[in-house]
């Protein structure tokens, strides 16, 4: 992974101009409106205002070699569209990023899927996002998301738990952990994939840089899946970017009474692909039936099998333990193991039921 001088320079320029762009664009509902497609000189003219001289002066001090050395020292990778290693599919965007800064190692992006949604998601949404992430991660599909609270984080977590590799696209520099609550998740993604951004290291996120980040998520992914999204919302903006460049958009059906489902149900009405599980995504990517999700496996331990069968029959724990010839201690422990494997889940106060499994 490497970058040419011009692209490195462009990256640094974006970081320098980010607060000024914020002054112009940061009001509700505004988009980057193609501003990022402008060449360097025009961009400076467009946003720098009276600080034009200062910006030119600061950029005059820029030395590509020094920048490279500093990035290398901090362990931050950089890729540009003129060199190999840059995800080519981003070129289909109207205003593609020129350079990408990365913490970690960019995984296979041939068949990537973005999973995005609301920050304040419902437990249902979180569960679905987690299961989607886990199923795709287990199938070796790279999951792209934005490290935000709620759906994004659940999808990232699922992907990691499924043993997959993920990409988190940040609105600020790749070294600026945002939101802070997801610090541990950030570390895990960096270790099992990459955290990337078009903004240079040290840049804080601005309101305008979130939709700009969303276009990168859409551009990287063959399919963008919305799990829960209000209307209007940032997730719908991501879906719009994906549609603009002819990529597929999927949505998870939600409750018609839930405001978090207004955006996703609206997308479905407009023809988005209904997504009810990871298998639906795999069917879309590889053709129906081409890649089967590993079906819920029966546990190999006969005790676990017996307990699972008892739960399917709707038995109480004490009953199923004596039917299976186990002590209640063994039965309780078996229950916990089955739950950890996702084969049973709690259905009410103290009761369990069979679940889909991994």
């Amino acid at each position: 992974m490497s970058a040419c001088d011009a692209c490195l320079r462009r990256g640094r320029l974006l970081g320098l101009l980010a607060p000024r762009i914020a002054g112009l664009l940061d009001r509700p509902g505004s988009r980057s409106a193609g501003i990022l497609a402008l060449p360097d000189a025009d961009l400076i003219d467009a946003v720098a205002g009276e600080a034009v001289e200062e910006v030119h002066e600061r950029m005059g001090e820029f030395h590509a070699e020094g920048e490279r050395a500093e990035l290398a020292e901090r362990g931050i990778g950089v890729a540009c569209r003129h060199r190999p290693g840059f995800p080519g599919q981003l070129g289909e965007l109207h205003d593609p990023p020129t350079a990408l800064f990365a913490v970690g190692e960019l995984p296979e992006l041939e068949r990537a899927v973005a999973i995005v949604g609301s920050r304040s998601a419902s437990p249902y949404g979180l569960e679905v996002a987690y299961e989607l992430g886990r199923g795709l991660g287990a199938a070796g599909v790279t999951v792209v998301s934005g490290l935000a609270l709620g759906i994004d984080a659940a999808a990232h977590r699922g992907c990691l738990d499924g043993g997959g590799r993920g990409v988190a696209v940040l609105a600020g520099g790749p070294d600026v952990i945002y939101p802070r609550q997801n610090g541990r998740l950030y570390e895990q993604i960096a270790a099992n994939g990459a955290v990337i951004s078009e903004m240079p290291p040290g840049t804080r996120p601005y309101r305008w840089s979130f939709p700009a980040r969303n276009r990168i998520m859409a551009g990287l992914s063959e399919l963008t899946v919305l799990v829960e999204a209000a209307d209007p919302s940032g997730s719908l903006i991501t879906a719009e970017f994906a549609r603009d460049i002819g990529r597929a958009v999927g949505a998870v059906p939600g409750r018609v009474t839930s405001r978090f489902a207004a955006g996703t149900n609206g997308l479905l009405r407009d023809g988005a692909i209904p997504i009810t599980g990871a298998q639906d995504v795999l069917d879309e990517l590889f053709g129906a039936g081409a890649l089967e999700l590993a079906s819920a496996q029966l546990p190999s331990d006969p005790a676990l099998q017996a307990v699972l069968a008892g739960i399917e029959a709707g038995r109480n724990l004490g009953e199923l333990a004596s039917a299976a010839g186990l002590t209640v201690r063994e039965a309780r422990a078996a229950l916990a193991r089955l739950e950890a494997d996702g084969l049973v889940k709690r259905s009410g106060l103290g009761s369990y039921e069979r679940a889909a499994g991994r």
């Binding site: 249902y124 738990d161 004490g318 309780r332 916990a336 739950e339 996702g342 709690r346 106060l349 103290g350």
Partner: protein, 508 residues
């Protein structure tokens, strides 16, 4: 008439402890009046009539002069009839019927009947404790209270039957031997309610054994009539017998709450308030203030049957006491602290229709609504949730082999508690259930693979940070029951199996 002023030490009950109060009696010439000052409540103002009648009916002199009685400290609001004896003795001393010197180092406490007999009061044990702390040598109480008060060592407790005897005692015309400490309440050699009588219910029995061994809170879920109450009532029988110190605490609370038997408590209390009980009834308050159910269950079991039927605010009010082991009740600018270290045992139906599973028609919506009725913060304090089976009638009649009896279970519980006490010796708590998150993570060590499994469950948002600590605490107790110092993966799995689903998880 030599003395015109006399003072007598007595006690006011405050919560379940007591405060020293001095009765000052002043007699001087003037129109015959009897004034009582020092923030007395109605019961104390009525005490003027009782004292007058008791003195006259005992053929003692009631001075027809200007009588003023002050209860010091004057700012403290006082209530109850326990000051009668103090006031009467104060008048006897001030009017020269007894020598004021006879009251040196001595405190009195008791209610009077109109005939001059002494009636027992609440909280005699608390008063005796306070008397010893105050450095008094001797406490004179009604005969019925004497054995209870005598539980306090280093204090001479005299039981007196009537006001006349009281005078004779102070004059040296009559004497009585110091009271013997109350014997522990007689207990049958074998607990009446035995675990062995409960057929089946292995899951609930196991959960109760773990709960008893570690001082954890339990939720029992099962259809009506399946024996939840029967099981809960057997819990005190498998808890370790109270230590002397705990027995004193229990006796003191029972006495202050007016439930005392006059004996030293031999069993831990079992309180089962009805589901219509108000927040005040559960945590304490009102005039007095009175101890609530959680205080009456101190060192014992608080059983909440039909948990979902309790008012939300009543359940929420229990959260803080369960966490802190004590309750602060504010009354008229003063706060009174009640002890409240009780094990919570709750019971509820699995769903609102409460029918057996094959006839239940409750959908997820109904179940969700039912779960929401339970207090989230309270469910958060539950360490183990177990299922109670509906036992077929046939099995009840014929029965199978008897399980372990309460004595055997108690033996295991006591051994487990002993291990905990040794391990937690320097940390200020006595059992695993009382450990906070920090202590839990310091004390409970698990192998890396077990930790990984826990983290995986936590990662799926099935386990909150608090839930994580709770699982570790329960796992620690399970290992203690087995007499193992090392916590194994099986222990953690069993603890996970008993965990309560997060409230959000249920309500979703």
């Amino acid at each position: 008439m030599p003395a015109m002023l006399a003072s007598v030490a007595t006690f006011a009950l405050e919560g379940v402890t007591s405060r020293e109060v001095t009765v000052e009696a002043d007699i001087r010439r003037g129109l015959p009046t009897f004034t009582l000052v020092g923030l007395p409540d109605r019961a104390i103002r009525e005490s003027r009539e009782r004292v007058r009648a008791a003195l006259l009916n005992s053929e003692l002199e009631f001075p027809m002069k200007r009588l003023t009685v002050n209860l010091a400290p004057a700012h403290l609001r006082k209530g109850g009839p326990g000051f009668d004896l103090g006031i009467a003795v104060g008048l006897l001393a001030a009017s020269g019927q007894v020598a004021p010197e006879a009251l040196q180092g001595c405190a009195v406490c008791g209610e009077l009947s109109l005939s001059g007999e002494l009636r027992p009061v609440r909280g005699a044990l608390a008063m005796a404790m306070r008397a010893r702390e105050a450095g008094l040598r001797r406490l004179i109480v009604p005969v019925e209270n004497a054995p209870e008060a005598a539980l306090v060592e280093g204090l001479e407790v005299l039981g007196v039957p009537t006001l006349v005897r009281m005078r004779d005692l102070l004059r040296g015309d009559w004497s009585t031997d110091p009271a013997e400490p109350a014997a522990p309440a007689s207990t049958p050699a074998e607990p009446l309610l035995d675990f062995a009588d409960v057929r089946g219910q292995e899951d609930a029995k196991r959960a109760l054994e773990i709960a008893a061994a570690g001082g954890h809170n339990v939720l029992m879920v099962g259809p009506p009539g399946s024996g939840k109450t029967m099981l809960a009532r057997r819990l005190p029988g498998i808890l370790p017998p109270p230590t002397l110190e705990e027995a004193l605490e229990i006796t003191q609370i029972e006495s202050a709450g007016g439930l005392g038997s006059g004996h030293l408590a031999a069993e831990r209390p079992f309180r089962a308030p009805h589901h219509t009980t108000s927040p005040q009834g559960l945590v304490g308050g009102g005039t007095g203030p009175q101890p609530g159910e959680i205080t009456l269950a101190h060192r014992g079991v608080l059983f909440l049957d039909e948990l979902a039927e309790f008012a939300r605010d009543a359940l929420d009010s229990l959260r803080q006491p369960l966490e802190d082991g004590s309750v602060q009740v504010m009354r008229r600018q003063r706060s009174v602290e009640f002890p409240a270290r009780a094990m919570l045992v709750a019971a509820c139906n699995p769903c609102p229709c409460a029918k057996p599973p094959e006839r239940c028609s409750c959908g997820p919506l109904e179940r969700g609504r039912y779960a929401r009725r339970l207090s989230g913060p309270l469910l958060d304090r539950i360490d183990l949730a177990c299922q109670v089976d509906s036992v077929p009638l046939v099995e009840l009649v014929t029965g199978r082999s008897r399980g372990r009896d309460s004595r055997a279970v108690r033996g295991a519980v006591v051994a487990a508690r002993e291990r905990q006490r040794a391990r937690l010796a320097d940390s200020g708590v006595s059992c695993n259930g009382e450990m906070d998150g920090r202590l839990t993570r310091r004390v409970v060590k698990v192998d890396a693979d077990v930790r990984g499994r826990l983290l995986a469950v936590a990662g799926r948002q099935l386990l909150s940070g608090r839930g994580h600590d709770r699982v570790l605490r329960v796992a620690r107790t399970i290992a203690d029951l087995d007499g193992r110092e090392r916590v194994r993966g099986d222990d953690v799995d069993e603890a996970l199996g008993y965990r309560v689903a997060g409230w959000e998880e249920l309500a979703a």
